[in-house]
């Protein structure tokens, strides 16, 4: 289901042009993150809704975002992508596999759709589906897991629809908007992914 055909999204009229599509879906594609992406990334990190997901509670500057990107790119335990719209090549978010362990073939998944205008339109769902295909089919992982705060019902629905199983609840593990919140652990095993994608 993961295709890497750059011609399919070639759009000469787009303002920024095609930017190294790596994993291509129907509405979005995932591409490498570049230093200049620090500008939009920094703006998203200053939005409490995004900063909280990423565990960042300090004001962000382009410079700190640039360093964050450079550090992440060098870390062998993570692979991060920008989420871009095929329609206009606009970067609208990021998604990442982190805590990658090749010994237990496991990784954690994170996604943040930063551009408010495109939230709730299936952009994150499609990006996660592309990243799961990469995790299981390219990296040969056995397990992908994630943390989500209990009150984020929209995200929980998205993950459940993708096949993630609720594995347990970490009591009061998050501090969000002035109070403690439970955090759900959700996991997806290779066999479950294959059954759903009809392999």
């Amino acid at each position: 289901m993961v295709q890497a055909d750059a011609r399919r999204i070639h759009a000469p009229e787009a303002e920024h042009g095609v930017k190294n599509p790596y994993l291509i879906g129907a509405k979005v594609y995932l591409r490498p993150l570049e230093p200049e992406d620090a500008v939009p990334l920094s703006a998203w990190l200053n939005d409490p809704a995004v900063g909280e997901i990423m565990g960042i509670r300090r004001p962000s500057h382009e410079e700190s975002a640039r360093r964050f990107l450079a550090k992440s790119a060098k870390d062998p335990r993570q692979v991060g992508f920008g989420i871009a719209l095929r329609r206009d090549d606009r970067l609208v978010g990021t998604t990442v596999l982190h805590h990658i362990s090749h010994q237990r073939r496991s990784a954690a998944l994170g996604v943040a759709v930063g551009a408010p205008a495109v939230r709730g339109r299936g952009v994150g769902t499609e990006a996660v589906r592309l990243l799961l295909g990469y995790a299981f089919e390219t990296l040969n992982l056995n397990r992908v897991w994630l943390h989500v705060v209990a009150s984020n019902e929209a995200a929980r629905r998205v993950y459940a629809n993708l096949g993630f199983v609720h594995e347990g609840t970490l009591r009061e593990e998050a501090w969000s908007a002035g109070r403690y919140e439970n955090v759900l652990v959700m996991g997806l095993l290779r066999g479950e992914w294959e059954a759903r994608s009809g392999r």
Binding site: E167, G168, W175
Partner: protein, 194 residues
């Protein structure tokens, strides 16, 4: 006792020192010890020294390590500590290894764990302490339950040992649960002395 920091009935916690390096290295290469930890590679003297130097420097605010020492004979038993300390969420991960196998099954690990949890709530003002334990570590799970940890999640197939996958259990204890236990314990003590 040498550099005692928190003292229990039979064991005490102290800062880790260079004199501990050789024992720690030997234990981290003992399969009976490392099969219960997320370690999969041989540990060289240099790597173990790096851990000891880091522990001695105490300059990582997210991590605190202790040596566990038996009071009788001042005998080094293992190491324990908190990692991933987050002072906004007031949460930390807990870890322990008793490397001296001759001293297994005597309750030293349980007592050392209780000392660390007590330190986390009383001194660091944390709200939550959590840990990961492999499903086949039944002695560990029993000890953590005795201290008051509750099972919160089962991470399916998050551990690979002896050619197959195992589940990892997440256990957690909250501050209010700990206070209730210590209150109950001090009431018991008062009754038995009165």
């Amino acid at each position: 006792m040498n550099r005692p920091f928190r003292v229990g009935r039979t064991v005490y916690l102290r800062s880790i020192g260079r004199e501990d390096t050789a024992d720690y290295q030997a234990w981290m290469n003992d399969v009976d010890v490392w099969r219960h930890l997320q370690f999969n590679r041989p540990v060289t003297r240099e790597e173990e020294s790096r851990f000891v130097e880091r522990a001695m420097a105490m300059d990582d605010p997210a991590e605190i390590n202790f040596a566990i020492v038996r009071r009788r004979g001042d005998l080094l038993l293992g190491a324990t500590g908190l990692h991933g300390i987050d002072m906004v969420r007031r949460s930390a991960g807990f870890g322990i290894q008793i490397g001296r196998k001759a001293e297994w099954g005597k309750g030293y690990g349980t007592e050392a764990s209780a000392l660390v949890v007590d330190y986390a709530f009383r001194d660091l003002n944390l709200n939550r302490v959590w840990l990961h334990v492999f499903e086949f570590n039944e002695r560990g799970i029993r000890a953590y339950e005795r201290i008051g940890f509750k099972r919160e999640a089962v991470l399916r197939q998050e551990c690979f040992r002896d050619g197959r996958y195992y589940d990892v259990h997440v256990m957690g204890i909250l501050r209010r649960e700990w206070s209730r236990r210590t209150r109950a314990a001090s009431t018991r003590r008062k009754r038995s002395t009165g």
